[in-house]
């Protein structure tokens, strides 16, 4: 019996004839496509972008609105605050002039305070996120790829960092960091406080990402495409940067999307413990904390920063989920 012989296959013709269903889409583009279909994701992205725009354009917004976050309106203009320092008008002194009311005590404009506060908190959180992520990437990849002693020591370092009672440590040693930069009787610049906060937040955050990436690198290293690169003589640097790193962007992106809101709230929590940004720099976390102290007299002052923070954190977490889903469709369905 003979079997009919179809045409030979080593010509490109047969394959070219096949109608392509997907046209040259990179994994990134695919992710974007999936993401675009996720309504929650889009909405939260819009919200998040809105917050970033607010932070970025704070001076413009304040200029358009015509108020200054540092001016003590309630104190300079009589009739805004009562004897106890609370706004006289109902709802925290909301009026056409002060959209979100005025701050009890100092009598500043809540709207500009909030806008600038978001700016401060976001800048700190973003900076800390970027630095922590960068350190995490370097440590994780070095540990995972180099292996051996390097891996052992970085691994121990990660363990130790993760074992530190971080909150306690930050409140205990914030002054140390500041001390490293200024003598005790020197003026402490505002940026220094910010830098200190960033350092404090960063020190304990890189380790988680590093540990995750180390694991990822360990498994990626076993993937055959890394061997394929080695066989062609690729240098370790090339393997790390050209082969491994592009495959790590997914966990990195997901992790940092989750890290950022965590840091925003962490900064607020530090404010609660008295080690946040200091007056007169407007600060979201501090506003929130103050709100929790005076809400019985002026709930409005808690509501605006509080709800803004809640919306931001929820939106960012939702965004994180959507990014994860977009990258990893397996979870969905």
């Amino acid at each position: 019996m003979t079997i009919p012989a179809p045409a030979t296959t080593t010509t490109g013709e047969a394959l070219a004839a096949k109608t392509p269903e997907t046209v040259g889409r990179s994994p990134g583009q695919l992710m974007w496509l999936r993401f675009r279909r996720d309504r929650t994701g889009i909405v939260s992205a819009v919200v998040v972008i809105f917050f970033f725009l607010v932070a970025l354009l704070a001076p413009v917004i304040a200029w358009l609105y015509g108020k200054d976050p540092y001016a003590l309106y309630g104190q300079d203009t009589p009739g805004l605050l009562n004897d106890y320092g609370y706004p006289i008008l109902p709802n925290g002194g909301i009026s056409s002039e002060f959209w979100f009311g005025i701050e009890p005590g100092l009598g500043r404009d809540v709207f500009t305070q909030l806008v600038y506060g978001i700016r401060t908190s976001l800048s700190i959180a973003v900076t800390a996120t970027v630095i922590a992520t960068a350190i995490g990437i370097v440590m994780g990849i070095v540990a995972g790829y180099a292996g051996g002693k390097t891996d052992y020591f970085i691994g121990r370092l990660i363990d130790i960092v993760l074992s530190f009672p971080s909150v306690l440590f930050i409140i205990a040693f914030m002054p140390v960091v500041e001390n490293l930069f200024v003598r005790p009787d020197e003026e402490t610049p505002i940026w220094l406080r910010a830098v200190t906060l960033v350092i404090a937040l960063t020190v304990f955050q890189w380790a988680g990402l590093a540990r995750l990436l180390r694991g990822q690198v360990l498994s990626l290293r076993e993937r055959e495409f890394v061997e394929a690169a080695k066989v062609t003589g690729a240098s370790p640097a090339r393997i790390v940067f050209k082969e491994l790193l592009p495959n790590l962007w997914t966990p990195i992106l997901i992790q940092s999307t989750l890290l950022l809101p965590a840091l925003v709230t962490a900064e607020a929590a530090l404010s609660f413990l008295g080690v946040g940004m200091i007056e007169p720099i407007p600060d979201w976390g501090r506003m929130f904390r103050r709100g929790t102290e005076i809400y019985q007299n002026d709930i409005t002052y808690l509501i605006f920063p509080g709800v803004a923070l809640l919306i931001f954190v929820i939106a960012f977490n939702l965004l994180g989920d959507s990014v994860r889903d977009a990258f990893d469709p397996k979870l969905k369905r």
Binding site: Q75, L81, N297
Partner: protein, 573 residues
Amino acid sequence: QGNQGAPAAPSGSASGEPGAPAPAASYKPPTITVGTADDSKGPAIEPEGVVKGGTVTMIDRDDIGHLDPAQVYVNTMSNFGLLIGRTLTGYKRVGPGDYKLVGDLATDSGTSSEGGKTWTFTLKDGVKWEDGTPITSEDVKWSMERTFAAFVTQGPTYIQQWLTDVDYKKAYQGPYDGKRLDSIETPDDKTIVYKFKSPHADANYAFAMGGYGIVPKEKDTKEAYDKKPVSSGPYIIKSHVVDKSMDLERNPNWDPATDPIRGAYPDKWRLEFGQENLQITDRLMADAGADQTAFTFYATVPPERLQQVLGDASLAPRLMKSPSPYGNYYYFNLDRVKDVKIRQAINHAWPSKQIQQVYGGPAAAALPTTILNENTTVGYESYDLFGKETKPEGDVEKAKQLLAESSNPTPTIVYAYNQTPLQEQITVVIKNALEKAGIKVVAKPLDRKTYYDSIGKVKNDFDLYWGGWGADWPSGTTVLPVIFGPIADGAPNYSHLKDEAITKEMDEITALTDIDAQNKAWMALDKKIQETITPLVVAENRIANTLHGSKVGGAEIDPQSWVVSPNTIFVKQ
């Protein structure tokens, strides 16, 4: 009660921060006079409606730091000390705002001779330690001698200095190595004689300080005494969990008939520590269950709750009010701010009213104008050099005018402040006001732990900083010579004021044996210093508003120590 607690408390604590006179009109400064031997007899005068028995609860933020009287200087600790220990003299409450200095262990408030160089006290009959052994003059002498010992670092130092030398620890190192102090004599078990190097007409006030409480010679355990003191007062410590709680029960060997000061009405005391002011206020406002029999020594209503508490008529019967007896100042560093015109300009531009608002308004802070405090100065007289009463929000024009006359019309002032949320806000206000007058303010936050260290350095780089000082007894003697005394690292002369004429005048006034003349002279010097040198801005003084539970009676803020006195407390049934 001078030392107002080292680390300033985070927010609105009583022991830590400002306080002072001249509040709402209803307030009348207390009168303090010297009582007779009759006044010194027990028992204490009962407050209205008193009931004996029951358990009272006291809630505060901090534990009683020291139980060894030799280590007690802070008002809260001396106040607690009333419950478990006695002193030679003490303040007896005769009626609201009316106090007398009387003998506590002593039969009267002491007899002086040689114009106040020698002071003699006789102990009452029937005063005993908790184990029933009688308290002797040897015990009293021992108690004073041991305050010279090296481990004692915290208590008052007046009498030690008077007995020996200014550098008293060099002159004598305490009784533990067998050496005794000759300047204290005990001719018999009941009599004790103090011989000072110079006259001190008001020494009997000094003996009322908690730091001069007594310790039994036979039961003295040196450092360890701080943990387990022996009671001579109405109560014994039954249990003490550091920073958390303490339980007191009656001392069977305390005889009310010997004690004109302490009422000791409740059978038991329960002290809870570690609660923040806000929580304590919320608990007392809610007045639920066991909290009905609770009160607090010093947790004042914080600014965040003030409007609510003062606005609620139902809370009024449970609210106590008292302005701070302390002096609070923004000291100029005279080494740096050399031009008196600039100092006066700042005084004129000072936003007292705005700061008051941050504290919670007139109900929470008064705006004094003098260095000496109205409440703790016998013979107080007011003056207003910088228009604080007429323009409490600051007089920018006047300030500008003075600046124009000064060496530098646009000065830069480095303002150092204790970095607490409240002080941060006040700094914003100060900066805002001074900058309107053309004074640039560089705000330098200081860590609260090191605040006093930093401003206490003679060579500091700040121009203006807050500091408090309180009279140890109602006389200028314990204020002006201290805050304008020797200049040294850590010494309370934060202005670094060094003016020979003033120093000389202070020495002369101190040496006066006529107390009334002395008081008058202090008041005059007060004004003179502000007028000619202006070494400070008189700061706002806070008014304590303190709640207590609905079943607590006799609660009253002691106007001198500015904490709720345990002497009159009772539990309503």
